[in-house]
Structure formats: C-alpha cells, structure tokens
C-alpha cells in the first residue's frame, strides 16, 4: 500500500485551533496544496488579515506579514511591488475584506496587482463572536442583527466575486465551496488556478470560498455544513466569473 493522501509540506504539523467543523482548516490545506503543487513554498509570502484568519502564520511554513484589519491587500501591494518575483497572497474573512477593507480590495483589484486573494466568506464576524457582516444573508440572526438582517436597515448582502469580476484589473474571480467532495474538488482547482495566474504574471486573482461557522451560526458541524448548501449557495452562486487567458494581454 502506498500513501495517497497526506498533509501538504507547506502546512505545519500542528493542531488547528479552529472550531470543530469550521472550513478554515480545509481552506488552509487547499492553499498549502496549491503552494506545494507549484513548488512555491520558499518564495511565497502570506499576508494575514484580522479575524480567525490572523493565525495564518502559525499554520503555513512560510514568511508571513500581519496586516491591520482590512488592509492586507495594501500590505500585499507594498510587498509585491518590492518583491516582484515572489508569490504574495492574502487570507481574509468577510468582515476584514468586505467591510473595513472594501476600499483596499477594490483598488488592489482595480490596479491589477499581481497577487492572489483568498477570501473566506462565512457570513459573520467569527473571531469577535458572530456579528453581522456585509455578507450576512437577509433574515439571518447575528449578535448585531438580533431580529434578522433587514434590507431596509442594513442593505443586501454583497457579492464580492461578481463585483470584482467587473473590474478590468481582475484577471481571475471565482466563488467555490468546500461543503461536499464535489465542490471541494472544484475549489481545489480554483485555488490552484489562482496561484497559477500569479506564477504567470497574469494579474489579480481572487477566490471566494464559502465557509461554515458552526459556533456563530449556532449549528453543529453537520447542520452548518448543510446551511452552506441550502442557504449560502442559492444567494452566492458558485462559479468562475472571470478568467483571463494570457492572450488577452496581447
């Protein structure tokens, strides 16, 4: 018998602190697998957002910079402009990227910075205890929308992958999920494609990964996983919204 599945090299052999059933762990692994697939570990620098994503440096065996809340795309811009041949990626949650960091992500995409953004969307602020986020669904109860999100008061949830795809600077924008084996395999492909775009200097690549947050949704891991299928995917459809080919630049 030979081993057909093991921990990727870029992922340190340490326990994840994430809650049981949280998809952060899975997503970390997909990113590490993509880094290993292209043998990028020694020339990759990660930029951690603030939230449950802040501990990226504990788990990836690479250089990491910590950015202020929402600012990872700007920090990544500074890094990439100096280190043009290194691979730079950010790892951010929905509060970090779509709320306080909205300006930075839109302009970084608009400038077509040659970096990769891994966006973990679980429709809440996880680390701080489950407050409403820009991606919280209508009717969803959170600690700051106790009566359920109401569009008259809070607007509609925001669809980042589609929005960024409208910018000329964006070369790759996709939304995936890891709640089923089939979705996970597509997610793996998308993450790999995003990093590949960067290795080929093809511009800004963005992957939105729908994730569960069992603790703050008040659901057990199985139910939380189901919610991704039943409630998130209908509003946040999976797919590739933009994929530039190399020939587009000629």
């Amino acid at each position: 018998m030979k081993q057909v599945f093991k921990r990727p090299q870029s992922l340190k052999d340490v326990p994840f602190h994430f809650c049981p059933g949280c998809h952060h762990g899975t997503i970390h692994r997909l990113v590490a697998e993509a880094i290993d697939h292209f043998d990028l570990r020694e020339r990759t620098i990660g930029v951690a957002g603030v939230g449950c994503s802040v501990f990226v440096y504990e788990y990836f065996d690479i250089d990491v910079a910590e950015a202020p809340h929402g600012r990872a795309p700007a920090v990544a811009t500074g890094l990439k402009r100096v280190l043009r041949d290194r691979i730079i990626f950010t790892y951010q949650g929905d509060g970090d990227l779509a709320s306080i960091g909205m300006s930075e992500i839109v302009h970084t995409a608009n400038r077509g910075e040659n970096i990769t953004v891994i966006f973990v969307n679980n429709t809440v602020y996880g680390m701080t205890g489950g407050q409403m986020a820009p991606t919280t669904l209508l009717g969803q109860q959170t600690t700051t929308s106790p009566y359920g999100r109401d569009f008259l008061q809070d607007g509609y949830p925001i669809r980042m992958a589609e929005m960024l795809a409208t910018l000329e600077g964006t070369s790759f924008s996709a939304r995936v999920a890891v709640n089923t084996s089939a979705n996970l395999m597509k997610a793996k492909k998308a993450v790999r494609r995003a990093f590949e775009m960067q290795t080929n200097d093809l511009g800004f690549s963005f992957v939105e990964l729908l994730s569960s947050c069992p603790t703050n949704w008040g659901l057990n891991p199985i139910r939380a996983n189901e919610r991704v299928e039943k409630e998130l995917i209908p509003y946040f459809p999976l797919g590739i919204f933009k994929e530039r080919k190399g020939t587009d630049y000629l």
């Binding site: 030979k2 084996s181 996983n225």
Partner: protein, 67 residues
Amino acid sequence: MGKIIVNRERCKACALCTLACPKKLILFSQEANSQGFCPAELSSETECTGCALCAEVCPDVAIEVWR
C-alpha cells in the same frame, strides 16, 4: 484495498468525514482524546477503497490515506 489512519489527537469529531465517505465506513471511537472529542475511526479496512474523500473534507488534516 485501502485504509485510513485518523490522528486521534487532531480529530474534533466534526463528522464531516462521515458525510463524505461513499460507503459510510466511519464511526466514532468510544474513547475520548485529551481534548474530550471521541475521534473518528474506520469501521472496516476490507471495505475501504482508499478514495480519500474523507481526508479531503477533514478540516483538521487529521486523516492519512493508504491504497
């Protein structure tokens, strides 16, 4: 055919692997680990095909697969 080894100390008994296993071969140990979780384990090595779907969905990278 195939087998999986679950790292007992890393498993948080989230049970996502049980959803993924096409043959429903995963059950939970009677013995808790040091964190208090009863880790997943393979019920039958003869039936396991080593498809690795359980390992793919495991959020804790707690499963190694052999075929």
